[in-house]
Amino acid sequence: MQGTEFDELAFFAAVQTSGVRALLIGRRALVVLGLPVLTADYDFWIHIDDIERFNSAAAPFGLAPTRSVAEARGRGRYVLENDEHVDVLVARAVPTIDGQSVSFADVWGRRQPVALAEGVSVQLPAIADLILTKRFAPRPKDLEDIRLLEILQQEGDTP
């Protein structure tokens, strides 16, 4: 399947229908919140026990996993790809650059569902948690994103 033919909304609907505990993170989460930033990839953080179901939800879109489920669990991440690229974090917890451990269970517990369209929603981390995910392995663009998110957070902003 070509990326230009990728039905983004149908993909999010499939993830929702699958019941996978999946959080949209990365720049596409910022976009949903109302920050117009460019990005090529999709980034999800999912529960480590939901890899098979997530892969099944993605399969009709031609997205194939780069690693076996066992390898993904061992490494804590994998990729689903065709000419789309979906980074999937599956670790139970990830340290920030300053050593703070961020657990999926905690972030999932504070998640916020956001409507994408009629009948389709996505789960986002709370803004404070999204900022923490930007500190896992920060690059310059992540720092720019942290500043943008902090401005939204200080406004008490919700999507």
Binding site: L9, V32, L35, P36, L38, A117, R139, I151
Partner: protein, 73 residues
């Protein structure tokens, strides 16, 4: 105008570089100015007004990214 292929590659490489804890703290220690804050909030207001749902915002960015990459070729 979209950047040329080399410029685009350099921009991506620079933005993907892993930072040290010291670089992170130095960058984030710089306070957000009132003008920067207002500029960001104005942009957010425009984006939300122009694209009222999350799905529309995602679709817009997808189109914008495609234009950017096609223009760079």
């Amino acid at each position: 105008m979209s950047p040329g292929g080399d410029a685009r590659a350099r921009a991506i490489a620079a933005s993907e570089r892993r930072l040290t804890p010291e670089e992170v703290e130095a960058y984030l220690a710089t306070p957000v100015s009132a003008s920067e804050r207002e500029e960001v909030l104005a942009l957010v207001r425009w984006f939300r007004r122009r694209f009222s749902t999350g799905g529309e915002r995602l679709a817009y960015v997808r189109r914008a990214y495609r234009r950017w990459t096609v223009g760079a070729q």
